[in-house]
Symmetry: C3
Subunit: 476 residues, 3 copies
């Protein structure tokens, strides 16, 4: 159908100097067929649990679930209603997916030089064979072409999972989740999909709907949770269930990485105030800080890897939140402090080398100042890859540049794609692998490592480190 | 007169790798003849209002008005008195401009690798034809040569304005300014010079001389300003007058971007305390934060673009301030927080795509952490170019590297030279255009954008973005 | 003994682009034979005072004194006990140095891409002629080979001092130190070793063992120190003694660079509370802030250069501190503020160009935001080289990139190696000189400086700036 060829350089993300580029290419060739390890992300397990599941329209595939995409369009003045983003308040929205696609194509230039632009190009070419640049004129044709493809069995989530060569994919699931899709996958021995225990909705007392979230947790454990002690017991039970269903990790998010243990009576008192809807101003931070300690304790006991994602103000824009809800591209990072905030947790658990604490932040000034030195000292600490906004070519370059000399490569946790956008997974891993290989080639041409060391390090960064960090070898 | 040739590479600011350099050169060639758009700066309108105006001596042209220059000399131990900087306290100063020039030449090596050094070299070669490196031996000859040139009509401000191919130049003017020079320019239909409304002197209650500044505002509106309501009305009137005189923008500076609306009675009470010289400790910050809200409200109403320059401690060195006054190179940046501070303003006005809020900061750690995410979400927010210390080759490279992937190029406001040093304008724009083209060429050789996209983006970054951001198409 | 050749590129640390690399090489060749100036470090003077001193075993030379090395091994789960690090609490440790070396070799891959890895490689090849990569298999052989070499006179500290072409080496010494080794070196006219006055142990009131440290100071001055006035007098006396023994500098460390003068009665009161072990919560910070002012005052009077090292939390990990003590790789940097904190000190003394205040920090976000602007204005302020974690190839590149355009090269203090690991000194200076020459070559190929300027700047950055900053020309 499509005639004009589009260029997706086989040397993309590599520095232009020919010697470095040649070495980067060799490193990349040596690891490009390794399976993808996806230890943290937000793909819906339902997509994979049902062999008959399909992605829907091109708009449902690429625009509606991806706040990276629609927040950029919104920032240039396009209403989210016009993009078909569902509203909570009944405001009517555009329902013609082909028309939404046209708006997207009309503004495709906005993604020039952005990671979304690079991923989309890769997906269109390598997943769907669309090698013509998307623009206003060809938008309709490309939409129709994609729509046909998406209906084919070879473009089902399951088929793409195989085609993408994904070895393992971890989802992110509420503490109260019954993991029905994981159970179903389990039953058919599709063990490459694993859950991750994320209890934020009940642990962070200021989450909107906390009481209802707790009610869900009560239903999950089959009893009332009227005390802090019962709450802890419920969480321990759920962790055990998740572990049985294949989980190797937990995930926790908070505005700051403040940690401090409360006494049991203090924790009980705050929990009681939460139940009675009478929280004191400092209760939320105190309780979250305490629960980080408790989660670390449980991880030491049950062996689940602990992830902390800190430094984001959720729902910065109330107008967007009220109409459209959370995760609509209106979260803005915050400056955060790690050295003092994490100290109580690390003093209690950080010297345990079997405890893995993987840290993620959005304040890059802490890479060289706090995060790399912490990872370069504490046996438990590993640094996660560049997160969210920094999951980009330059973001990764800054990460390698600012983290590795101090932390050492082997105190990092490889890559994770952290995505809801399933078809972007290979594109995202490709960027990581390419930027990593280019970084390693840069070390070689500067005489800082030997070329043979580079091959070892490339395999580690592309595959081994993630598996080791998330304890994905074993299947309990 | 001068014999030894000095090298000003036609490839300056470009990366050395030949393929990237070639593409950067092509991009630069494609935009190098575009007119200069100067939407923010500190050139005196009087210079251009009078066709007979001249720049004075070489020292008056290049040293006395430029705190970038004399602060560097001061930092190495040369007294400002020896450089002829006027004193407020009657301390005698050097008045022999040729002798000051000799000191400057003796220490010209201090500017190696600095933006001032690069601009000066460009000005001397390209504006004045001095292609011999300035040093102690040739200082006098070069001084004499420049002095002669500066007396010629072709080196008058007006002549250079034309030669520089400046399409529009916005000045920065106090709220009480009668804009006499702009009126005069207006009358002769020289409409390329526009005022900018900068009310800091009356809005920031801790400005030295606030009461006198307010008195000037009273004279400008022709009545007493004894209440907050009258103050607001006066500002609205002045904005209308500025707009009539061609202004499209306002400018606001404060130590932090704290914003929060006060109730009218609260605002009235603070204003009354200011009039009575009885300010409470938190009044200044509260009032400035409130006035940011008010200025945004007025911008939404009258369409003037709003600029915020935040994060500098003015007059860090009292000894310098007391003897020489403000703007003497003794301002030092501060760490600042944007995400929480700007939230009230953005929640109130940030979803309005016809409101343009252009942000400038000196804390580069906020580029990727706060500023790019804000610009990449809110329709109203645009990021200004690297400011002040960061208006430099590496400063721009860091800006492109840290801002663009998240904000997207089209959420930025192009370039402005922000200068008092009129003859440095072409040199400053050249650095921006060159670094931008080199950045774009880097994206091409890394396979991140297509070459044809690069040409579009180069024109945007060199010309269109600034015109669009500052609404400079229209002439009300 | 060793057969396989290991590659230590003569172009290491240089960018790969051939033109830049060629210029970098020329700059490096022009300065590579300049003597090493070592104005700040932690080498034990005893090593050099006794001509018969030897380094001991390879483990004693390279592992036991170097927390950069063993903290990386610890971070990957190797107990410090297994590495032979002495314990305070009697816990048994590995005493077989050959076995410790084996563990080190088994994990040598952890240092890939780290500065320690680069220095070790350089030391093994260029100091000891070990040109085979260290690994598990050859560990024993290499150990035996090194052990034999270390016993030879040509590998004595004195012999290496000459071979390394060190012009001057400053040690770091407590205020109460009797400088016996310096006196002995003085007597034999070995004047290249100079002490540095570091009074932290008595000035920072929260140092563990403060009272005993003060007692040592009392013994040093031969009288009781029961008042603040006596304390100040004792410090002045000790500074005079250090200066007589060749010191040109002092060194001061604190968590933050907070400075503020107390009244004498306030200072007396805090000092009295310290003596009575009844400190108030804010006393420590107040007193340290005051003593920075006092140290600056004394420096203005006696001409000693003042160094400030700020922004590190010492002993972040109490488990390590309790068993092994300080300086065990468990210090983690902190975010710090310079602009407001240093203002009182700079307002009092910063305009004095004969006062040299050299600043060191670990929060790189302050390079371009605060440190470079301060150095680029105040005559007294110079910036020290990248410190500790940032004494690395990329750390130096970030420093040149972020500091130089604003501060100017001539407001920086050249390099210091800051090391306890004597044999790493040439390797560390080589990295600095190489990265600096590569930075300068980058300026040349980008047309930002002339090639002849680059030669001057290379000599400055490699040699002159450090001598000038530390006033090492003169010998009082």
């Amino acid at each position: 159908m499509l005639t004009k060829k589009r260029n997706l350089s086989s040397d993309r993300c590599f520095a232009p100097e020919p010697v470095q580029r040649q070495i980067a290419r060799q490193f990349f060739d040596s690891i490009s067929t390794l399976p993808l390890v996806c230890p943290h992300g937000h793909v819906e397990p339902a997509l994979l649990a049902n062999p008959a599941a399909r992605f829907g329209s091109p708009t449902e595939l690429l625009i509606l679930p991806d706040h990276y995409i629609f927040r950029m369009l919104y920032s240039r003045g396009i209403p989210l209603e016009a993009l078909g983003i569902p509203t909570k308040d009944g405001t009517p929205i555009e329902t013609d997916h082909r028309q939404i696609w046209q708006i997207f194509a009309d503004h495709f230039y906005l993604f020039r030089g952005t990671p979304s632009g690079l991923w989309l190009k890769d997906e269109l070419i390598n997943v769907f064979g669309v090698d013509e640049p998307l623009n206003s004129r060809n938008a309709g044709n490309i939409y129709d072409y994609l729509e046909k493809q998406l209906a084919l069995p070879e473009f089902s989530p399951r088929a793409l999972f195989k085609r993408f060569n994904i070895e393992v994919l971890c989802t992110t699931d509420a503490a109260s989740d019954n993991l029905e899709y994981h159970q179903s996958l389990h039953q058919e021995d599709f063990t490459q999909i694993r859950p991750t225990f994320r209890p934020d909705a009940v642990v962070n007392l200021d989450v909107i709907g906390w009481r209802e979230n707790l009610a869900q947790l009560e239903r999950a454990v089959g009893r009332e949770i009227s005390t802090y002690a019962a709450f802890i017991q419920a969480l321990e039970e759920r962790r055990a269930f998740f572990k049985k269903m294949g989980a190797t990790a937990t995930d926790h998010s908070a505005a700051t990485p403040y940690t401090a243990r409360l006494s049991d009576p203090e924790a009980e008192a705050i929990f009681a105030r939460a139940l009675n809807n009478k929280l004191n101003p400092s209760d939320v931070e105190q309780f979250t800080g305490h629960m980080f300690m408790e989660m670390a304790r449980m991880s030491v006991e049950d062996g689940l890897v602990m992830q902390m994602h800190c430094g984001i103000m959720r729902n910065h824009n109330p107008a967007i939140f009220e109409r459209f809800g959370s995760d609509k591209g209106a979260d803005i990072p915050l400056q955060i402090e790690w050295t003092q905030n994490l100290r109580p947790l690390l003093n209690a658990y950080g010297n345990n080398k079997d405890f893995h604490l993987i840290l993620f932040g959005l304040d890059e000034s802490s890479y060289s100042r706090e995060l790399a030195p912490l990872a370069g000292h504490y046996p438990a600490v590993l640094l996660g890859p560049p997160w969210w906004f920094h999951d980009s070519v330059s973001g990764m370059e800054r990460y390698f540049n600012q983290v590795m000399e101090t932390a050492g490569l082997y105190n990092t946790a490889g890559f994770n794609d952290d995505t809801r956008a399933f078809v972007s997974i290979p594109a995202r891993h490709a960027v990581w692998r390419r930027v990593a290989c280019n970084w390693l080639a840069g070390l070689v041409v500067r005489g800082l490592i030997e070329e043979e060391e580079g091959y070892d390090m490339a395999a580690a960064v592309a595959y081994d480190l993630a598996k080791d960090a998330y304890k994905l070898q074993r299947r309990d």
